[in-house]
């Protein structure tokens, strides 16, 4: 006997209840606090802030907790929350030259004003599981020194003096915003950068890696990578001047790329740019490589048909919230469409069989096969 | 504090009133020749209630508005700016234009969209003395058979329809009533 499936609402409620239970895990284990996630899983928090396009470590930590550690799900929670926030105004561009650097390295010069500052990096750690952490060992305080005073100049500024690196003219033009206007191709560099900085880290990494392996190779050196806090300022029309509204941590990467020159440009170094919320080193380097690859047209280079040069391809597929939604939607019921295909395939088979049968019925000179 | 005219006459309950107003606007745009009530705002004279309500429903800082002729008063400009934040513009740049037919000027001035983006065209809100379901004969999308609507200038509107899929779209307003004429409508003079 057939009984139509009913009670969808109850099933959904029950699924949500079970999900909440699974999220909590065994109740004899202490529950994670938002502060613990924020402080101890800070790179996850940074990634969620970057791809969620919202700088709020506590909310990102909450999203990670709610999402059971699924970072794309956490990014989605942050994005959905972000869209409901009213916009009071727009900040001034941050001045990364004024950054208080926790880390600052250059691969192009052995030393430069401001020095090479390793900072808190995994770079030279040996990737050996530290079983002391499993035993909740206490961490010894790291040695400290007096911080440098004064600004740390950008490495590319030194090349500019020699006129040997492509100039990036300053502009006061208002950049577009892909969260407020529909994407249109060809796009603009500000929109490309916005798309990349909130793009999926894995996707941007893969695209960047493909350029290194020869798909539109652009010979990148990390001119500079810096991580630290910058002040955010906003103009208040009623006051007539800008005030500090807070401080954010960002990672900035500028690549210096070999360039032979083109029909329109003299031989000189060119640049790729990456800027990402939080300590997000891998993402910002990858972003700079992909940014540089996407600039082929502006620099008069050849389109080699490489995926990373294809703006429409890169920008249309970089967003993991879009991608995951569409990917996962195929688990929704599609039985109406499937039914129509089923009928079609049955019909085509029936017709093919009929054709074969009528051919077999005809006398054949060749005899049976 | 005494009530200043530019601060009054907006929606009392924007989400609800705008929703109702949009449904009227959508219905007439989907059914050329139909006339609907459209109210909720009290704009300064000489803007009609219907035209004012359309402006509050559809305009904001993202849309450029052209006030043509008699409706281009200090009071109307201040009212529009206060309630919508819409920047004022010349006819050639406008997303929306409001005024009487004669004052809106040549249709050739307005944006008609591009072949790739025909949606990037102006919507004209034409203030009329009255709306009548008589006069020109309309046919095309949204119309079962034919419909009748009095139009201010049949040849000009026929020329606009001939640009299809480019062209301007029109609302006709009078008091608290509204009708519409999208570019997709074919127009002939009733015999």
């Amino acid at each position: 006997m057939y009984v139509a499936v009913k009670g969808g609402e109850k099933a959904i409620e029950n699924a949500h209840a079970w999900l909440a239970e699974e999220r909590r895990g065994a109740t004899d284990i202490a529950e994670l606090s938002i502060a613990q996630i924020r402080e101890q899983l800070s790179l996850a928090v940074n990634r969620v802030m970057a791809e969620g396009s919202l700088y709020d470590p506590d909310l990102a930590a909450l999203a990670i907790k709610q999402a059971r550690g699924d970072l794309i799900e956490a990014v989605f929670l942050i994005r959905a929350y972000r869209t409901t926030l009213p916009r009071f105004g727009y900040s001034n561009p941050i001045a990364t030259g004024e950054m208080a650097c926790d880390r600052r390295i250059s691969a192009t010069f052995k030393d430069a004003p401001g020095g090479q500052v390793l900072g808190p990096t995994f770079d030279c750690t040996h990737r050996l599981l530290d079983f002391k952490l499993a035993a909740e060992g206490e961490v010894l305080a790291a040695p400290t020194a007096h911080p440098r005073t004064g600004a740390t100049p950008h490495i590319t500024e030194f090349l500019k003096g020699e006129d040997i690196i492509q100039d990036e003219p300053a502009s006061d033009a208002t950049p577009g915003d892909l969260t407020r206007e529909p994407m249109e191709f060809p796009s603009t560099r500000p929109l490309r950068l916005q798309s990349l900085t909130r793009g999926d880290e894995g996707f941007v990494l893969g695209m960047a890696y493909s350029t290194q392996r020869g798909y539109a190779r652009n010979h990148a050196f990390v001119g500079e990578l810096r991580i630290g806090k910058v002040v955010v300022e906003m103009d208040i029309p009623e006051l007539g001047f800008a005030i500090d509204i807070g401080e954010i941590e960002v990672t900035e990467c500028e690549t210096v790329n070999q360039f032979k020159g083109s029909k329109t440009e003299p031989p000189q170094f060119t640049r790729g740019y990456g800027l990402v919320f939080g300590q997000s080193e891998r993402k910002s380097i990858a972003m700079a490589l992909v940014d540089r690859a996407l600039r082929w047209e502006e620099l008069g280079e050849d389109n080699l048909g490489a995926p990373a040069q294809d703006e429409e391809f890169v920008l249309s597929h970089a967003d993991n919230v879009q991608a995951t939604g569409f990917l996962e939607h195929i688990k929704l019921p599609h039985y109406v469409d499937f039914q129509s295909e089923l009928e079609l395939v049955r019909k085509l088979r029936r017709e093919a069989e009929e054709r074969n049968a009528s051919q077999e019925a005809e006398p054949s000179e060749r005899g049976p096969l | 504090m005494t009530e200043q005219p530019q601060y009054s006459g907006g929606f009392q309950n924007a989400p609800i009133q705008a929703a109702r107003a949009f449904r009227a606007a959508m219905t007439v745009m989907a059914r050329p020749g139909e006339i609907r009530e459209l109210n909720g705002s009290r704009p300064p004279d000489p803007l009609s209630i219907a035209a004012g309500t359309l402006l509050l429903t559809l305009c904001d800082p993202e849309t450029k508005v052209h006030l043509a002729g008699a409706v281009n008063t200090d009071a109307a400009r201040e009212w529009l700016t206060f309630h919508t934040g819409a920047p004022l513009a010349q006819a050639a740049d406008a997303d929306f234009a409001v005024g009487r037919w004669a004052e809106l000027g040549s249709l050739g001035t307005y944006r008609i969209g591009t072949a790739e983006y025909p949606d990037r065209s102006a919507t004209l809100i034409v203030e009329c003395d009255e709306l009548q379901q008589a006069g020109a004969e309309l046919s095309g999308p949204g119309i079962k058979g034919t419909a009748q609507l009095f139009l201010p200038d049949v040849p000009a509107l026929q020329a606009n329809a001939a640009l299809y899929p480019l062209g301007c779209d029109f609302f006709f307003t009078s008091g608290d009533r509204v009708a519409a004429l999208p570019r997709s409508t074919r127009i002939s003079m009733e015999t």
């Binding site: 409901t84 191709f185 569409f326 939607h329 599609h334 469409d337 | 059914r31 559809l58 993202e62 299809y164």
Partner: protein, 286 residues
């Protein structure tokens, strides 16, 4: 959810969507770009339809939400709940009583009326997308009304299979100008696209809105010698006996026995209430 605005979206977002809907109605079948917002439900699950519905609903509306023709599929339940919570509108499962119907993959069997609006959830709004993946190219094709590629594809189907092998999301030609994707409805539903109600289409992830006003000419693409055919399973509904409705095929037991039932659950229910009975109606009495 009381802290959210009526129908969830903020007013500026609704205005932006409303402007796109009006332009969509003025150019039937043309896909209007709009700045789709990130909704609290995943892309691909109806975010476009939800945004269009949110911009269209008034408190007086009665909303019906269906997925695969059914009111009780989980996604339909979830979207209906969303609008009950955020817009406080009445909801119904009866097509007759609804003023706004949001749908995924079906058009109800009952003829829709002048005073109704149907909102389709659209995954890929571009009918040419599977022939040409680039937006820059397909936009050009629409602007030039250059649809040769689509005809070539359909013709290749015929030469290869003896029939057009598109069974759902079957492309249509709207008002003699734009080729349009009617969303993944089965081609059985295509003839209903010429209707009395207003039809709105929302694609959230792809940021497109389009529309068909009432009584608009909508033609399913075909060839003179291979005319369009609206097909369905060659059965009657086993519950209500309907011969004219689109059917779901249900596997009933381990032996693979099948039954066929109306995909439009409200249509089936109303027929059964009116006393119509199908082959297995008695068995379903429990």
């Amino acid at each position: 959810m009381n802290e959210y605005n009526f129908a969830y979206l903020d007013e500026q977002t609704k205005r932006m969507i409303r402007r796109a809907i009006l332009k969509g109605l003025a150019v039937p079948g043309y896909q209007v770009p709009f700045a789709s917002r990130e909704m609290p439900m995943p892309y691909g699950w109806g975010t476009g339809g939800v945004q269009v519905s949110a911009a269209t609903l008034t408190p007086k509306d009665t909303l019906k939400v269906i997925d695969q023709g059914a009111d009780d599929t989980t996604n339909a339940v979830s979207i209906r709940k969303f609008f009950e919570n955020t817009a406080g509108v009445e909801t119904t499962e009866e097509t007759e009583k609804a003023t706004v119907i949001q749908t995924r993959h079906r058009i109800p069997e009952a003829k829709l009326r002048e005073d109704q609006i149907i909102v389709y959830q659209v995954p890929i709004p571009e009918p040419l997308r599977f022939l040409e993946p680039r937006e820059t190219e397909t936009r050009k094709m629409h602007s030039l009304e250059e649809y040769g590629l689509m005809h070539v594809k359909l013709y290749e189907d015929i030469s290869q299979h003896g029939a057009i092998s598109t069974a759902y999301a079957y492309p249509v030609y709207v008002s003699d100008r734009y080729v349009m994707d009617p969303s993944p409805i089965p081609k059985f539903d295509n003839p209903k696209l010429e209707m009395d109600a207003i039809q709105l289409f929302g694609a959230g992830r792809e940021q497109r809105i389009y529309a068909i006003p009432p009584h608009t000419k909508v033609v399913s693409l075909d060839f003179e010698d291979y005319p369009f055919e609206a097909t369905k399973a060659e059965h009657c509904c086993d519950l209500c006996g309907a011969e004219d409705s689109y059917l779901d095929e249900v596997i009933m037991d381990d032996a693979g026995n099948r039954m066929f039932v109306c995909s439009d659950t409200d249509y089936c229910r109303s027929r059964r209430e009116a006393g119509h009975m199908g082959r297995l109606a008695g068995e379903n009495a429990a």
